[in-house]
């Protein structure tokens, strides 16, 4: 509570200071309250007089990509002389109200050329602009003056954008371009174990990240136990990550929002891309169905390790085994009229292990392990007028995990089938309202029905009775929100917001207000001080033992016993742009508290089933304990986004602590992924049209592990209950530790290198050969640590037993090659 009061006071003081510079302070002494009210009244007076003095008109329209008609989001539309501007929304729409007169409007977007339009504004105007890509960044469009809305000009803080082109250029494990692994190179977004695409934002957990693809929640973003993410970037138009200062339009998770938008499809011509890599191939096709009106995009990826190992498997008798994963994206965009547009986007991804065995006596068995997501979003954009824009979405999101074992023997047939999953059905509507050049108001509502199946189990065994049961939880989640990006003065902008969230499970109702506030004060035109506060609630939780994104991780609902998780985050920072060099620097500090976060109890199993033979259930609620957390730290991002050489340097200094009454004997402890230092250095160099060189170097403090660091004599005093004696060790000693996460692993670092050779062909076709080297100096970074008995040495058969600390490392010096053809 105290922190909330301090923060509110802090914002009020800043707000007051901003106003004080705008208007001379009154001569008469006033009380503090009168001073603040005075400032507000002065503002109101100024505002009215400006409005009354000038006629104002609105320019509005869409910004699209030349050649494809793709709507571009986040494009800067700026009038330098007035220092007024806006950015396009998620659908490329903008609205800017300006005084009557002649103005020069600069439309600019990183990676695209600038467009300047001179307007004689005497009435409302529609301005639709096509921006040309600046030939893969080779033409350095350096904006040498204050002509663009940049980091120091926006109120929002704690956000990072990644261009899809960067994802394609940065070297990746086995050449698999990966959105989430690229995000891990940003400060504040930390990867988990080596090679994992699971990520931790500002001391949070993976389930506290809201990953949305075209408005649909993607519950499991991992392939192959987290080594790859489900987003390969081919069909992705934009990636934006919010780490704090969350706008009110986002909610439902505590730590981050990762917003991915799929391309709409080329409306002008048929184009595509084929990529052949070491472990997978992908293809993308997009084009008009009805030129200028309807477009489609489809992309798919499949790994083929299972096909490649078939020669080594005895498949003649029907023995087959393998693993693959697939992704498929499909989207249709139809323009009914300039004011009404429809989008239907879909994603389907699956991982599958399969094994069929046929024995010489005719017995057969079959096993399947598969998991995957399906999302489908139907969106309708409607532009009511030049100041009001809406989007309504109908969303389906599904995640399912299945395990099947079938044994078909002569004398018996056994069947074991287990599955778990979640289905979401969401209706969502959002409005963007641009009443004048000082306000951008967004408001909306959403409602989701969650259908959880923590476990569905079918066991048919000839030696015991059949089991056929299903656990099911249904819950309802909804929210209404309003937020305003309010430009109080040339220097001061404020973004207040309120989200009211509601959750219902059976008779339990949770209603929680979530205030949000962000502030930006321009100390200089290119230097802004920023601060933010946000409160978040999370009503659904992921039960995960590993944090590395195993398919067995289980999504569950808040219930009567499991409360929603909540967080509060305070952040302050500065953003500095260097106009002449087009660099930007942001430095942010944050403090986050987490309440009612959940974790497995010590010794609890991650499987929902204790005993596969009897199907005996462990009630997941009994395995869970809740506690609190604290995360704090600082992040630095130095970035260059245009020119032949682009890249960034990110540094994170952070702490993340937890306290659970039922863990670590109630004492506070550092979280597993509490890492003091994280450094990432990313460079992409394009000296000419034929070659792209790239490299990333990352360093991070080791993760924390709980390892038995001591041993003591087993059961040294008598106790009458016999059960534990069953587990006495043969050596008479037992391992133990008195502190959770008592061991910090070694520091990890690695250098990844990549080179791409481009060859332009006729008809705008292009061929690209890419070679990359992951962990190029073969650093043995820890994946996991274990305490194990030393191997038996036959030369010293009487040697005593001794344990040693073993580090398992993976992914050293992994080369890859891939071939891409664009047409």
């Amino acid at each position: 509570m105290k922190k909330t009061i301090y923060c509110t006071s802090f914002f009020l003081v800043l707000f007051h200071q901003g106003q004080a510079k705008l208007s001379r302070p009154p001569c008469k002494p006033k009380s503090e309250i009168h001073k603040k009210l005075g400032a507000l009244l002065i503002l109101k007076d100024n505002h009215q007089s400006l409005d009354q003095a000038e006629n104002k008109f609105t320019i509005s329209g869409y910004i699209t990509e030349s050649g494809s008609g793709e709507h571009l989001l986040g494009v800067s539309v700026y009038v330098p002389e007035l220092k007024l501007g806006t950015t396009t929304n998620d659908y490329g729409f903008f609205s800017l109200t300006l005084p009557q007169g002649n103005h020069e409007v600069v439309i600019s977007y990183i990676g695209y050329g600038n467009e300047k339009r001179k307007l004689n504004l005497t009435e409302d105007k529609i301005l639709s602009v096509e921006l040309k890509p600046s030939t893969e960044n080779l033409e350095e469009v350096v904006v040498t003056a204050d002509e663009r809305i940049r980091e120091s000009k926006i109120t929002q803080m704690s956000t990072v954008q990644i261009k899809p082109a960067d994802i394609q250029d940065i070297p990746a494990l086995l050449g698999e371009k990966d959105v989430l692994k690229t995000l891990q190179l940003m400060p504040g977004i930390q990867g988990g174990s080596e090679g994992s695409s699971g990520f931790f934002v500002r001391g949070g957990t993976p389930d506290q990240n809201l990953i949305i693809l075209d408005d649909a929640v993607v519950y499991n973003s991992n392939h192959l136990f987290g080594f790859f993410s489900v987003f390969n970037g081919d069909a992705i138009k934009s990636v934006e990550a919010f780490k704090g200062g969350f706008p009110a339009r986002f909610g439902g998770r505590l730590s981050s929002v990762i917003k991915l938008d799929m391309k709409d499809g080329n409306k002008e011509k048929l184009s595509g891309k084929v990529n052949i890599g070491l472990i997978s191939s992908s293809a993308l096709l997009e084009g008009p169905i009805n030129k200028g009106k309807t477009s489609f995009i489809a992309s798919g990826r499949r790994t083929y390790a299972d096909i490649m190992v078939r020669p080594f498997v005895d498949s003649e008798k029907g023995n087959r085994s393998g693993y693959y994963f697939t992704d498929f994206n499909f989207k249709i965009h139809h323009i009914f009229s300039p004011k009404d547009k429809l989008f239907w986007s879909n994603y389907l991804g699956q991982d599958k292990f399969y094994e069929n065995s046929v024995y010489s006596d005719g017995d057969k068995d079959k096993s399947r392990l598969q998991w995957g997501n399906i999302t489908s979003t139907l969106r309708w954009n409607h532009q009511f007028n030049n100041k009001l824009f809406s989007n309504t979405s109908l969303i389906f999101s599904n995640y399912k995990f299945k395990l099947l074992i079938e044994e078909d023997f002569k004398d018996q047939q056994n069947r074991f089938k287990s599955s778990s999953g979640i289905n979401d059905y969401t209706l969502k509507t959002d409005f963007d309202y641009y009443p004048n050049n000082k306000h951008t108001v967004r408001f909306g509502a959403n409602a989701t029905r969650h259908n959880f199946t923590p476990q569905r189990l079918l066991v048919k065994d000839e030696f015991s009775s059949d089991i056929n049961k299903e656990q099911e939880l249904n819950s309802f989640e909804s929210a209404v929100y309003i937020e305003d990006d309010w430009k109080l003065t040339d220097k001061l902008s404020l973004s207040p917001g309120l989200r009211l969230s509601y959750f219902n499970y059976k008779d339990k109702h949770y209603i929680n207000p979530e205030p949000r506030l962000a502030l930006s004060y321009n100390l200089k035109p290119d230097l802004a001080f920023k601060a933010s506060y946000s409160r978040m609630n999370q009503y659904i939780h992921l039960l995960s033992s590993s944090g590395i994104g195993l398919p067995t991780d289980l999504w569950v609902s808040s219930t009567d016993n499991i409360k929603p998780q909540t967080s509060q985050q305070f952040a302050v920072g500065v953003a500095k742009d260097f106009f002449d060099k087009d660099y930007s620097v942001t430095l942010e500090g944050y403090y986050k508290t987490l309440d009612d976060v959940i974790a497995y109890k010590e010794g609890a199993s991650f499987l929902a089933i204790d005993d596969l033979e009897t199907g005996k259930n462990t009630n997941w609620e009994e395995n869970i304990t809740s506690g609190q957390g604290w995360a704090y730290g600082a992040e630095l991002l130095f970035r260059k986004q245009t020119g032949p050489f682009t890249g960034w340097l990110g540094y994170t200094l952070s702490w993340s602590e937890r306290q659970f009454d039922e863990l670590n004997l109630g004492k506070k402890f550092y979280d597993r992924y509490d890492r003091r230092h994280d450094i990432s250095l990313v460079g992409i160099y394009k000296p000419n049209e034929k070659i792209t060189l790239s490299g990333t170097w990352v360093l991070s403090t080791g993760n924390n592990y709980t390892l038995p660091n001591q041993q003591r004599i087993d059961n040294p005093v008598d106790f009458p209950i016999f059960n534990n004696d069953l587990y006495s060790s043969y050596s008479g000693m037992e391992d133990f530790t008195t502190q959770r996460n008592n061991f910090r692993g070694e520091t990890s670092h690695r250098l990844d290198l990549g080179v791409q050779f481009h060859k332009k062909k006729k008809k705008n076709r292009e061929r690209i050969w890419g070679v990359s080297l992951y962990n190029s100096y073969a650093r043995r970074n820890p994946f996991i640590y274990t305490v194990e008995n030393k191997d038996y040495d036959p030369s010293t058969p009487d040697a005593p037993d001794e344990k040693e600390l073993i580090r398992t490392s993976v992914l050293m010096l992994i080369p890859s090659v891939n071939y891409t053809f664009k047409f």
Binding site: M308, G603, Q711, N723, F743
Partner: protein, 293 residues
């Protein structure tokens, strides 16, 4: 081309994993600690406290052919171990080489329900202290035995036991038991195994009836035999409960990387000390049950 791809894949797999021993010195706290354990109950005939050195898990050599010879080196045999009560009555426990513990006959020092006892261990100029309070005894145990399964070879029975939680405080229980039979003049004894279910709390509500079940099986006896079944419920202090539960879970989950290691309880005060000094009360019920086809 396919051949080259296969070779490439194999190369990638070969490069992708390795295991190395790591020097733990700079990564893990591996200092020796003094390990002290003592459980007190009014039902004890001997008061026992164990004092030894807890050694690093990594790098300590133990001969598996004769572990006791190595373990003997960890025992601290020259400590001064004193238990006292609230009225400062004291008893010194003397080292018993056979049991590797410090002991005193319970007849010399009364252990009474509700009383608090203090432990003082002095060794090598260091002093360690702790205290415990003897919890209340569970009044009675009820049980139901239900035949569940029978075939030509074996019989299986389900045993349900129940007792009422002690009202007015948070309680921690460990339950167990044993079965004794005699066939052809030969005595047999084995424990009733409740596994993790042997650890119970009153989290479901103060004063509630707590119940748990286990099972036991027999080979089909030639003729009816009588089994002597001892049911046990101990009401224990929280540290004792946590300590035994952690040991059980760590053993049970040994080798499972997806289960968090359980943390051992510690209520021993003093530099670099670890262990538990705690009180408990035992309630037993012996029944005779006829096993027949």
């Amino acid at each position: 081309m396919n051949k080259y791809l296969q070779i490439s894949l194999l190369f990638v797999l070969l490069c992708s994993a390795c295991q190395d021993p790591v020097d733990p010195d700079e990564l893990l706290n591996i200092d020796d600690r003094t390990y002290i354990v003592g459980y007190l109950s009014p039902s004890d005939t001997l008061l026992s406290v164990h004092v030894s050195t807890a050694v690093p898990a990594i790098g300590t050599q133990i001969d598996s052919n004769d572990p006791m010879a190595d373990i003997e080196k960890f025992i601290i045999k020259d400590a001064l171990v004193i238990i006292s009560d609230e009225e400062d009555n004291q008893v010194q426990l003397i080292y018993n080489a056979e049991r590797r513990n410090y002991q005193a006959p319970a007849s010399e020092f009364d252990i009474i329900e509700g009383n608090t006892y203090f432990l003082k261990v002095s060794t090598d100029d260091k002093e360690y202290t702790s205290s415990c309070t003897i919890p209340q005894k569970v009044d009675s145990i009820t049980e139901v035995i239900t035949p569940e399964y029978e075939d030509e070879y074996s019989l299986k029975y389900i045993l349900d036991i129940a007792f009422q939680d002690i009202i007015g405080k948070d309680n921690f229980y460990l339950i167990g038991g044993k079965i004794e039979t005699e066939e052809q003049g030969q005595p047999y004894e084995w424990p009733l195994n409740f596994e993790l279910d042997s650890f119970l709390t009153d989290a479901i509500g103060d004063g509630e009836i707590l119940s748990q079940n286990s099972f036991f099986s027999f080979w089909q006896p030639e003729e009816g035999i009588t089994a002597k079944i001892t049911l046990q419920v101990t009401n224990v202090e929280e540290n004792l409960y946590l300590n035994r539960r952690a040991a059980f879970l760590n053993d049970y989950n040994d080798g499972n990387p997806f289960v968090e290691y359980s943390i051992a309880a510690n209520n021993i005060e003093g530099e670099n000390a670890v262990g538990v000094f705690a009180g408990y009360q035992l309630t037993e019920k012996v029944i005779e049950y006829e096993i027949k086809k």
